[in-house]
Symmetry: C2
Subunit: 333 residues, 2 copies
Amino acid sequence: MSENHYAEFSECSMKPQDVLEYVSGPMPVPAEGEVLIRMKAAPINPADINFVQGVYGVKPVLPHSRAGLEGCGVVQESRAEGFRKDDEVILLRGVGSWSEYVAVPAVNVMKLPVKVDPVQAAMLKVNPLTALRMLEGFVSLTPGDWVVQNASNSGVGRCIIQLAREMGVKTVNFVRRPDELRDELTALGADLVVGEDDEDVVKNTLARLDGKRPVLASNAVGGESALRLMDMLAPGGSMVTYGAMSRKSIKVPNGFLIFKGIKLEGLWVTQWLKNAPVPEIEAAYDKLARLMADGRLKQAVDTVYPLSDVRRAVEKAQEEFRSGKVVLSMERV
Amino acid sequence: MSENHYAEFSECSMKPQDVLEYVSGPMPVPAEGEVLIRMKAAPINPADINFVQGVYGVKPVLPHSRAGLEGCGVVQESRAEGFRKDDEVILLRGVGSWSEYVAVPAVNVMKLPVKVDPVQAAMLKVNPLTALRMLEGFVSLTPGDWVVQNASNSGVGRCIIQLAREMGVKTVNFVRRPDELRDELTALGADLVVGEDDEDVVKNTLARLDGKRPVLASNAVGGESALRLMDMLAPGGSMVTYGAMSRKSIKVPNGFLIFKGIKLEGLWVTQWLKNAPVPEIEAAYDKLARLMADGRLKQAVDTVYPLSDVRRAVEKAQEEFRSGKVVLSMERV
């Protein structure tokens, strides 16, 4: 138990599986004000891939950078007020969650308010918070309002469906494989599941919204897909961008801004976590953790890999069609 | 004096000079609640051109539509409370300002609070209000803040320069002919006048802003020019679009929204005039009219044509390089 294993990389590459290494080092020792955490699980998000590629908003400090932007674990040793051994926690800030042990300042750690399954808890920080901020941070939504999103089968997309259902807000969900996914997303609470490539999809979908138009559009794709979302929005509505899966810029017809009065904004929870008041952050996670514990907020998992298989896991995480998130487990079996 | 002349068109055309006609008709008779106005002057704005082209946010009702979206005049006969003969007024809403006489509901008319030169007063409604809303409606500006704009030599652009100067706000002004225009715009209050095509213009200009970045960008061009504005903005800043002179969409790199947190919004004063509370509208015009009367807010005029020369005037208004606005005069000489 005096050895620590973790994933690190020495150069950025568009193929993270080529540069990530599963290595071992000494057990970290917590300084005053820090806690030593035995990590349990950490997901592989698009942001993690982009981080290793060097194209994320946070840049790795090389020549040796650990990987992993979120994860959960249990306090092994506390040298900070407010934490003690066996507390279940998630990492709020910093990189290096793809490790068996980390020693981090207490301010970067949050205790879970309720017992949550570790694989789900590992994914609490980013996607559910992104979905919550999307629905609460830009437009004042009331029950019966419509929200439209693309990448609806993504981690955030599924959280948006479930949180919107909790709010009584209806969702139009664009996906690439509507026939395969309709039942599953409808079971989560999706009101409409429509194909990105369906003919006349904007016109046909608007005809199904009780004469309303979406007041909020959640965009994780960009390109043509974002154009469809803007086209569907109500006058004065907002499109909020949190991802760019198509790697294509958003082309905004000037008239959408001038005459239709729509707004374009961005959402990056890493930034929000830096600036928001602590009680607001805690209230958000408290709400999300409780919904998770109740099974009303759940993220789909495709495969769980042991940390030692990090290369295979990140390769899998980059495959186009998965049935959920790829998660790394640090529990030795 | 029983005859009325005005400009009308029967079909839309990208060449408004081909479809506009100077015609005569009977003198309009004001109904109860209306005022009869003898028009004095009306400018030819890009919006007027677009209206006759059929590509503006307000569409003409054909087969016979009058033209002209703003203008000033004097009350000839009042059948509405609050107005009497000889009141100097501007038209607030509706089309048809390119006429010698109009009879309009009093709600669409505003009395000038002070004496203003007719050619200037004719241009009070759109450009100065657009500039004021740009500076007051989106970002809370404090003295010493920077604003960046393109189309800085346009009617709105010049108003932004002058109103920003009144607020102690500094302006970076993109133009296509910086060397020709620098002295003139600097005299109005411009802090920096830079060329759209200057090499490394973003980097070089940022180096001249006392270590600050603009918090607001005013965009009337779109395309590459809008991209430069977004590039210059401070994190969290707003780009507000009120025109699209390049006729090119705005291409937004996703990272500008997600990581830099900039916002894109639109400004259309016609919409604002529809929705804003009347006291707010009156306060805005009161402020602008007084600045105009004091000579502290002035719009450049290229040529004044008699209304009968409307075709030649709209042709001139579409020429690329002018020294100011083309204005129609209805005063018979």
